[in-house]
């Protein structure tokens, strides 16, 4: 399950989507809007996204996870638009027969979402706002010129 949506995120839906009967563990991560950043009081955040590409990149993150750990389901949900303090912007769920793999894979997926998925947040504070520049995305090398 990979979604970019303006609707509130439901972690229970992510759990239901990833769990298989052979799984004993589901690790979940919720990224939530906090009230401060770098010493500044944050009023709310606004998320922009390139939804079609974001979903493709989420699928790519899941494929990387599966290549590294014997996990079952992977779900990645990201919300867009205005989010208030305490609301979840990101939900990542990973299910596995064993808990160690579920935790490691979930933490890895969160890292990768922040590195390659085309989504952006704008921080809005008293009297100002700013689009946060996070990770430079890794661009593939130019192909060798043909003969």
């Amino acid at each position: 399950m990979f979604e970019v949506t303006p609707q509130p995120l439901d972690p229970q839906r992510a759990v239901a989507a990833v769990r298989r009967d052979r799984d004993g563990a589901v690790a979940l991560f919720l990224g939530v809007v906090r009230d401060h950043n770098q010493g500044r009081r944050v009023l709310y955040l606004e998320y922009d996204a390139y939804p079609a590409m974001a979903v493709r990149k989420m699928e790519e993150v899941a494929a990387e996870v599966r290549a590294r750990w014997p996990v079952d389901g992977v779900a990645i949900l990201h919300r867009t638009g205005r989010l208030e303090i305490g609301e979840a912007s990101l939900v990542v769920a990973v299910s596995s027969p064993h808990r160690k793999e579920a935790f490691e894979a979930c933490a890895y997926a969160v890292d990768r979402v922040k590195q390659i998925v085309p989504i952006w947040k704008k921080e809005v504070w008293e009297g100002g706002e700013e689009w946060i520049e996070g990770s430079l995305v890794p661009v593939p090398e130019a192909a060798e010129p043909g003969p």
Binding site: N37, M53, P118, W120, V137
Partner: protein
């Protein structure tokens, strides 16, 4: 050829444009498109160093050749997820 260009986040902010069409001669690359956009929206220039490009939803190098109908996205550094 005609290209569709999408602008996000700070690049949407500095241009006031979310999506635009650009006509370029055949054989043009992403770099040629970037130059054309800098003429039209000078505010993009100061972000050039940190802007990546995606063609049809895949990251590509500047040298990537474009084709009629391609959807090109200008991608500033991504910052999804929470502040953590």
């Amino acid at each position: 050829m005609r290209l569709t260009v999408k602008l996000f986040a700070v690049l949407h902010q500095v241009t006031g444009v979310r999506e635009t069409a650009v006509d370029l001669p055949d054989g043009a690359t992403v770099r040629d498109l970037a130059r054309a956009l800098w003429e039209r929206y000078p505010g993009l220039r100061e972000h050039a160093r940190t802007t990546a490009y995606a063609v049809n939803a895949e990251y590509v190098p500047d040298s990537h050749p474009l084709h009629d109908g391609d959807e090109v996205a200008l991608i500033p550094p991504v910052s999804g997820g929470a502040h953590v």
